[in-house]
């Protein structure tokens, strides 16, 4: 499934894009690659652990200015800011993977079954999806985190809460997109052709309909990734996130840094903030860029002449 999705990414199109579109896509690709690399290589890159308060020379100290041993200073609680920011990328990547796994799979399966079979089941599922859509995701996430872990939580608890709430708000999205595509595809003659042969509904769904219906998923995928990060950061900022000694999380660090900003301490807020902004920007740009390139109508071509300003008033 995931393999199919990856193969569907129109990456070879990279060379054919031009101008702004290409710049957007490239920026997105670079930022996303940086983010993923940071997350994967985190333990090697970070000078200290995410919950480390002291080393051989003793305590780090609270709110220390950036210096040789702490390039980005320390927080009020005495953590190393650079280390926590790097470790934070790991948590962000985990939430993206967890949220997508929990939303793509059920969303696709439900959309496929609902769209193909139709009837009462379809109406029920569509109603449910619409109802889920009506919930504000952050509120849902807060409720979920309270239910799962009573508000304050470990890595698994905090991630679980955020992932579940993100999934709840994403499942309807995948459901809708896949269902709409399935409904379009199922009226294609090749599905009729399979039915005439006597192919069973399950085989038609998996062999003929599914693979023709998921081509837009990678695009929603990248855009939703940024929402997953934002939801986790929002939870952390509101104090429902992950405890600092379970994992590093950008939203929590931002929350702790609020008081520092007024007292002129800049180094605690800016790094986790930038982490969130750049990651969200990267995945969003990547998603938008891929959407544009995948659609031949939006894809501009290098060797085409500038289209004549037909409606314009440039007279003779």
């Amino acid at each position: 499934m995931a393999l199919v999705l990856v193969r569907r990414l129109p990456l070879p199109r990279l060379r054919t894009g031009v101008g702004v579109q290409r710049a957007m896509l490239l920026t997105g690709l670079v930022l996303t690659a940086l983010f993923v690399l940071t997350a994967v290589l985190g333990p090697a890159l970070a000078p200290h652990g995410y919950a480390q308060l002291r080393d051989t020379e003793g305590l780090f100290g609270s709110q220390q200015h950036p210096s040789g041993s702490h390039p980005l200073g320390t927080t009020i609680a005495g953590y190393d800011v650079l280390s926590r920011t790097i470790w934070g990328a790991r948590t962000a990547l985990l939430i993206i993977l967890a949220a997508l796994l929990l939303s793509v799979v059920p969303g696709t399966v439900l959309g496929l079954v609902s769209g193909y079979l139709g009837g009462r089941l379809d109406r029920l599922l569509v109603g449910l999806a619409d109802a889920l859509y009506a919930f504000p995701p952050l509120l849902l996430a807060i409720v979920m985190s309270i239910v799962i872990s009573g508000g304050q939580s470990s890595l698994v608890g905090g991630l679980g809460a955020a992932a579940c709430s993100v999934a709840v708000s994403f499942v309807p999205q995948y459901f809708r997109v896949v269902r709409a595509e399935v409904i379009r595809v199922k009226s294609e003659p090749f599905v009729d052709a399979a039915r005439v042969i006597g192919t069973g509904p399950w085989r038609i769904m998996t062999r003929h309909v599914l693979r023709n219906s998921v081509r837009t998923l990678p695009l929603i995928f990248t855009i939703n990734a940024s929402e997953a990060i934002l939801t986790l950061a929002g939870l952390g900022f509101l104090g429902f996130g992950i405890e600092p000694n379970s994992a590093a999380e950008w939203g929590y660090d931002l929350n702790r840094a609020v008081a520092d900003v007024t007292s002129g301490i800049w180094w605690t807020a800016i790094p986790p903030g930038l982490g969130i902004v750049l990651t969200v920007l990267g995945t969003t740009l990547l998603g938008e860029g891929l959407t544009d390139l995948a659609d031949p109508r939006l894809r501009r071509r290098t060797d085409a002449p500038v289209p004549p300003a037909d409606g314009g008033g440039d007279g003779d």
Binding site: T16, E188, P189, F190, D192, A193, A194, R195, V196, I197, G198, T199, G200, R203, R207, H208, R211, N212, R301, T302, D303, A304, P305, P307, P308, A309, D310, G312, G313, D314, G315, D316
Partner: protein
């Protein structure tokens, strides 16, 4: 004589992902005032691109070289459309040349009335004075193009008009601006044959009554024979032959033209000579009695009865043609037999057993060939995978290797090279895909083949080859077939027996030569008369024959 339009050495190419693709390579043409020039060719020959360049309607990805000179017929044309400014282009469109598109329902804006759209053109070109004068003018033109009750029709929206009326309105829009040249791109392809005859008649009148020249783009040789003065045959972006219509049909010079004309099924010249393979005594493959198919309406509105009490039988080995215009229910009958559309009334027996919900029993015994070969294959499966699909579903016990061997044998049976086995559908041409479709339908050696307009999406030379293959396989395998088509000439070629459907009922049925040769029913007679034959001399005679007059007369 001065020309209205002169195209000199036109080259057009399109920018694609794989580099520039030439569409037109050095076309030179001219159209004189009041002349009908037909531009014929198969799909991809560049005829539509050439026509669109006349109005500067090429898409942004196209680059054009050469000259397209447009004039008003009083002097030599000197205005080059390709280099004209956008403002000048707007002035030329409508007054010097206007376009009539293939699909009238998409050429009209659904949210405005016909009258508004007609006066919009007048207003844009500063004609017609006040609003009420423009409206009067619109009514006058709707009347001139033969729309009944124009004073009410002028306030109607496009969806309230029939396809033929919409096409008339589009032509009225062109004529109202006093255009000297109508560029008609397949103006009748989307229409039924009786409506086509009416639109052709109207285009005739455009020339005789209003002196308008027509650049007619079509693939239908019957339409050419009916309307054109001169014909230019295009192939692969080049004009291979240009001649007056009678000369071209009587003595085609270019080998390609000869091929093209030979491939056109000529209606009224008798069907194919073949031994009567039908086994009338045996148990019929299909027996329908009082068959009714309703399409459910939306909540609160009545459903639509597509098939209304139809009785027929198909005997083993028989080729039954089902003809009718759009909405006649012919496709619905085919789909009902294949189980794609539920039967709502009457009885439908397949192989002697009444049709039930359990289709598995009959599924392998019916093959189905779809109209559009482009969409009837799963784009993600290779051709062999698609052809093997019926075997995989029903004869899994054969094993992957044997299934693959059989699929390849099927490819060979439909004359597809083995090299095509692992290609994807989009890598095949339309005709090749339709052969593959035939192979898939025949994979389980069905006793019955339902072919729903199997050649109407194909070019005429490809159609001829597919029909030959169809007949050859039928001879060889002896299956019975239901051949659904709107094209009488094709049905005449392949069918033993014909059923003419009209609004869900059988209008006439009988042996092919009898029904199409000397039709008894009124509707069948109209259908036959409306069909233009690909021979200008005979077509002109048909125009004046009494039976045709009821249809094509004003």
């Amino acid at each position: 004589m001065t020309d209205l339009l002169r195209i000199e050495d036109l080259h057009v190419s399109f920018a694609t992902d794989t580099g520039p693709a030439p569409a037109v390579g050095g076309v030179s043409l001219s159209v004189a005032p009041g002349e009908v020039l037909a531009l014929v060719g198969e799909s991809g020959s560049g005829k539509t691109v050439t026509a669109r360049s006349v109005l500067g309607l090429l898409p942004a990805t196209a680059t054009a070289h050469g000259r397209v000179l447009l004039g008003d017929g009083t002097a030599d044309p000197e205005e080059d459309v390709l280099t004209a400014s956008p403002a000048r282009l707007r002035a030329l469109r409508g007054t010097h040349a206007a376009m009539v598109f293939q699909e009238p329902s998409t050429a009209l804006n659904p949210v405005f009335t016909i009258g508004w759209q007609l006066t919009e053109g007048l207003r844009a070109h500063g004609h017609g004075g006040s609003k009420s004068e423009r409206r009067a003018l619109a009514i006058e033109w709707l009347d001139k193009v033969g729309i009944p009750d124009p004073a009410t029709r002028v306030d109607h929206y496009p969806h309230q008009l029939s396809g033929g009326q919409k096409q008339r309105a589009v032509i009225a829009m062109a004529l109202a601006l006093g255009t000297r040249l109508i560029v008609a791109d397949e103006p009748t392809t989307a229409l039924d044959v009786t409506v086509q005859a009416e639109i052709l008649e109207l285009l005739h009148r455009c020339r005789t009554d209003f002196g308008t020249a027509v650049l007619l783009i079509t693939h239908n040789m019957g339409v050419v024979a009916d309307l054109a003065d001169r014909v230019a045959v295009m192939r692969a972006g080049q004009v291979v032959e240009q001649a007056p219509v009678r000369d071209l049909f009587a003595a085609p010079a270019a080998p390609y033209t000869r091929e093209l004309l030979a491939a056109v099924p000529d209606f009224g010249t008798g069907g194919r000579a073949r031994p009567a393979a039908a086994d009338v005594a045996g148990q019929p493959v299909v027996r329908a009695s009082q068959l009714v198919v309703d399409y459910p309406g939306r909540l609160g509105s009545k459903g639509f009865r597509a098939v209304d009490g139809v009785n027929f039988e198909i005997h083993p080995g028989e080729m039954l043609g089902l003809v009718g215009e759009s909405g006649s229910g012919k496709t619905t009958i085919g789909r009902a037999i294949a189980g794609l559309t539920p039967v709502t009334g009457g009885r439908l027996e397949l192989f002697g057993e009444p049709l039930t919900r359990k289709r598995k029993a009959v599924a392998g015994r019916i093959g189905y060939v779809f109209q559009d070969p482009a969409t009837s294959f799963n784009p993600l499966l290779t051709i062999t995978d698609s052809i093997a699909e019926p075997l995989v579903v029903h004869r899994r016990e054969l094993g992957a290797k044997e299934i693959r061997t059989q699929a390849e044998a099927l490819l060979e049976a439909v004359h597809l090279p083995r090299a095509y086995a692992d290609r994807y559908p989009h890598e095949l041409s339309g005709g090749q895909r339709q052969r593959a479709s035939l192979a898939r339908a025949l994979a389980l050696r069905p006793k019955l083949l339902v072919a729903d307009e199997p050649t109407s999406a194909l070019d005429v030379s490809v159609q001829a080859k597919v029909l030959d293959l169809f007949a050859e396989l039928q001879q060889e395998l002896g299956f019975a077939a239901l051949f659904v088509s709107h094209d009488l000439a094709v049905v005449e070629q392949v069918a033993d027996r014909v059923i003419v459907l009209h609004r869900g009922r059988i209008a006439e049925e009988g042996a092919t030569s009898q029904v199409l040769g000397s039709p008894q029913d009124d509707y069948t007679r109209r259908l036959v008369a409306a069909l233009p034959v690909p021979d200008p001399v005979r077509q002109a005679r048909r125009h004046h024959s009494p039976v045709a007059e009821g249809v094509t007369g004003p």
